[in-house]
């Protein structure tokens, strides 16, 4: 039985439908990340799970029980907010213990639980302080402590790291992952940061305009995006999307990518595509991740299908660990992720290679993957 089941959930604000029939399930111990651009409804979805927003139709089940009309405090959930939402007038210990106090837990028991959580999060020395005397990272820990102490069946995180600086964000990300692994807790996590989504999730749900685009494991989302939106949204730099046409060449089906100047690039149909579905002359969108575009020496040696092409280097972006190279192909920019010491210069003509094992095709009409 799944810990969290959401079935055909709809939410309307007046006449505007912000969640248009969401179906998701999450197993016990799973880490579900809701990701999407701002305004896609991911925070609203989280709030409906928490019970802070009423739903218009559909069903939410937690541990098998329908919770549609249950008060947030009765849903067996705990939530960590973006602003941490620590009560400014209470000490750290009081903040962590407030929920237990409201439920009428005896003081001695409360103190024991607070201490145990403080030890897990290494905030024992902060228990007497007020939230205003804490740093951002410490506040984050206290907010997590307040959630942990409830031992809920689901933790809800609402963009918990977006108020932290870049370095602390990475530290806390690892902290959350460690917490998930050691406690085996079930987590629903909202973020607009696709790196957070990829690194933390066991399951990612990509939302757009209140509609679920794809639900799957991080590698499914990354390698087999359901449509061009998911392909474009997940991954940084984004997946390269090039328009092409299906045509016969030397006796086999190929994707032909026309170029403004020079020979068109001829690509054998990627293995991920069922060739029978493609008709000659059909337009397709060819998608390939930047790391599957490289110079000939660095392309994956085990790749079964590699195609070389010449192109002019337009922009070189050294990023330390990698060098991102923007090249011109098919009248569209194409980003390649190359080794840090790759010998490329602006304006140079260079031979690149596509690793077609990693390529996908999309239908330009429906934007869905073929």
């Amino acid at each position: 039985m799944a810990t969290l089941e959401i079935a055909d959930l709809r939410k309307r604000f007046g006449t505007i439908e912000v969640l248009k029939g969401i179906d998701i399930t999450l197993e016990k111990g799973g880490f579900l990340v809701l990701v999407g651009p701002s305004g896609c409804g991911k925070s609203t979805l989280l709030n409906t799970i928490a019970g802070l927003e009423q739903i218009s139709s559909g069903e939410i089940r937690i541990g098998g029980n329908v919770v549609n009309h249950l008060h947030p405090s009765k849903r067996d959930i705990a939530m960590v907010f973006q602003s941490y939402a620590l009560y400014p007038n209470m000490s750290v210990a009081e903040n962590i213990g407030f929920g237990m106090e409201m439920r009428g837990v005896a003081k001695a028991e409360r103190e024991k639980a607070i201490e145990a959580v403080a030890r897990t999060l290494q905030i024992e020395h902060l228990l007497k302080r007020r939230p205003s005397q804490l740093s951002g990272g410490q506040r984050q820990r206290v907010a997590m402590g307040r959630a942990l102490v409830r031992r809920p069946s689901i933790f809800l995180f609402d963009e918990p790291l977006s108020n932290l600086d870049a370095k602390l964000r990475v530290d806390m990300r690892i902290e959350i992952k460690r917490l998930h692994q050691t406690t085996g807790s079930t987590i629903v996590y909202v973020t607009h940061d696709q790196i957070e989504a990829m690194t933390l999730a066991t399951k990612i749900a990509v939302l757009r305009n209140g509609e679920l685009q794809q639900v799957g494991s991080p590698s499914e989302i990354y390698n087999c995006p359901a449509n061009t939106f998911v392909a474009d949204f997940m991954g940084s730099p984004a997946m390269n999307l090039l328009e092409g046409k299906v045509a016969q060449a030397s006796g086999a089906q190929h994707v032909v990518i026309a170029r403004k100047e020079g020979e068109p690039i001829l690509l054998p149909v990627p293995a991920s595509v069922d060739a029978g579905k493609l008709q000659d002359g059909a337009k397709v969108i060819f998608g390939i991740r930047p790391e599957a575009v490289n110079d000939v020496e660095s392309i994956d040696r085990n790749a079964k299908s590699v195609v070389r092409f010449d192109a002019t280097v337009e922009i070189v972006e050294p990023a330390g660990s990698d060098t991102f190279v923007v090249i011109h192909a098919a009248g569209k920019e194409l980003t390649a992720r190359m080794r840090a010491d790759a010998d490329v210069r602006r304006g140079q003509n260079h031979t690149f290679a596509f690793n077609l094992d990693k390529a996908v095709l999309f239908d330009p009409e429906t934007t869905a993957r073929i």
């Binding site: 928490a50 019970g51 802070l52 008060h71 947030p72 405090s73 959930i77 705990a78 939530m79 907010f81 973006q82 602003s83 939402a85 009560y87 400014p88 007038n89 407030f98 929920g99 409201m102 439920r103 307040r146």
Partner: protein, 314 residues
């Protein structure tokens, strides 16, 4: 930089300006300080002189023969209008008995209104708030007669309750009536103050408390109220000053021995018989003004800070 820093941070130094500019600025400041302080000084000095020295001497002269007799007279001996009771102390107490419940009730209700209007929004909440604001702008003279009718009806209910239970529940009592009137007409302002303050109060705190299982009133009492000190003090000072200084409602709805301080002061000063005892009048006036001054001195810095907090945060 917080709003408090904005208020308390030092103004631009004047040393950068020329001598003439400085003389003009400090000269003007001094002049206005004098204009405001002279009446107070005259009041204090007059109240410390025997009557002969007041009527015969110079208003600005220091007392030759220092006496506290006028203060004692004002507090316990002076005739107030036609009343049997002597001195203003009884009326002072009336005012205290009126102002403390009126301030506390109107402030707490205002806080509750502000809480509901910002954190528990309902269809039409803006309209309700807009209509409550009318209470801030109604000329009070226009509500006196309807109010009198309502208080009369409450008084009759009080009589009925008295017959039934032996206790009128305070209905019909002049001080209770004044508390009711001041609470009703104070609500507009207290609601305005608290609504604007809670508008910027993070909603996530309320959500977190909901998930923690706190009820409607627990959220109010444990989360909102403890974080409302600045606006609470602003509202208390504002309400205290207004209610203590009110003359219109006091003179209309409370007569004789039940009148508040302001009405008693008027009756003392506007006496048409005998000699006018200026020194006693001045002492009584200072006593009448003392509580509001005290409240401002004690909590004044929060007043400025609280008002600015509202202004800066919108």
């Amino acid at each position: 930089m917080t709003s408090a820093d904005l208020v308390t941070s030092a103004p631009r130094r004047l040393s950068g300006h020329s001598l003439t500019t400085r003389i003009v600025i400090y000269g003007l400041l001094l002049l206005f300080a004098l204009v405001y302080l002279v009446p107070l000084v005259v009041m204090v000095m007059t109240s410390l002189k025997p009557l002969g020295e007041v009527t015969g001497g110079n208003m600005f002269a220091l007392p030759e023969q220092l006496t506290f007799r006028p203060w004692v007279d004002a507090w316990g001996e002076a005739r107030i209008g036609v009343s049997e009771t002597r001195g203003i102390h009884g009326y002072f107490l009336n005012s205290v008995k009126m102002v403390i419940p009126a301030v506390l009730i109107s402030t707490l209700l205002g806080a509750l209104n502000g809480y509901v209007l910002t954190k528990w929004r309902f269809p039409g909440d803006k309209l309700v708030f807009g209509m409550m604001l009318f209470a801030c702008f109604i000329p009070f003279q226009s509500v006196i007669i309807p109010m009198a009718v309502i208080l009369g009806a409450l008084g009759r209910i009080g009589v009925g309750l008295y017959d039934l239970t032996g206790w009128s529940f305070g209905l019909g009592n002049a001080t209770v009536n004044l508390v009711i009137v001041h609470v009703i007409y104070g609500l507009g302002f207290t609601t305005l103050f608290f609504r604007n303050y809670y508008e910027t109060f993070p909603n996530e705190l309320v959500k977190a408390a909901m998930i923690d299982g706190a009820s409607f009133f627990q959220i109010f009492r444990r989360v909102l109220l403890p974080n409302s000190t600045p606006i609470f003090i602003v509202t208390v000072i504002y309400q205290f000053t207004n209610i203590w200084n009110d003359f219109l409602f006091g003179s209309t709805f409370a007569a004789g021995d039940t009148a508040p301080m302001t009405v008693a002061l008027n009756n003392l000063v506007n006496t048409s018989t005998g000699v006018v005892e200026y020194n006693v009048n001045m002492a009584a006036a200072i006593i009448a003004a003392a509580p509001t001054l005290l409240v401002y001195v004690v909590a004044g810095r929060y007043f400025v800070r609280g008002l600015m907090a509202g202004a800066v945060k919108g």
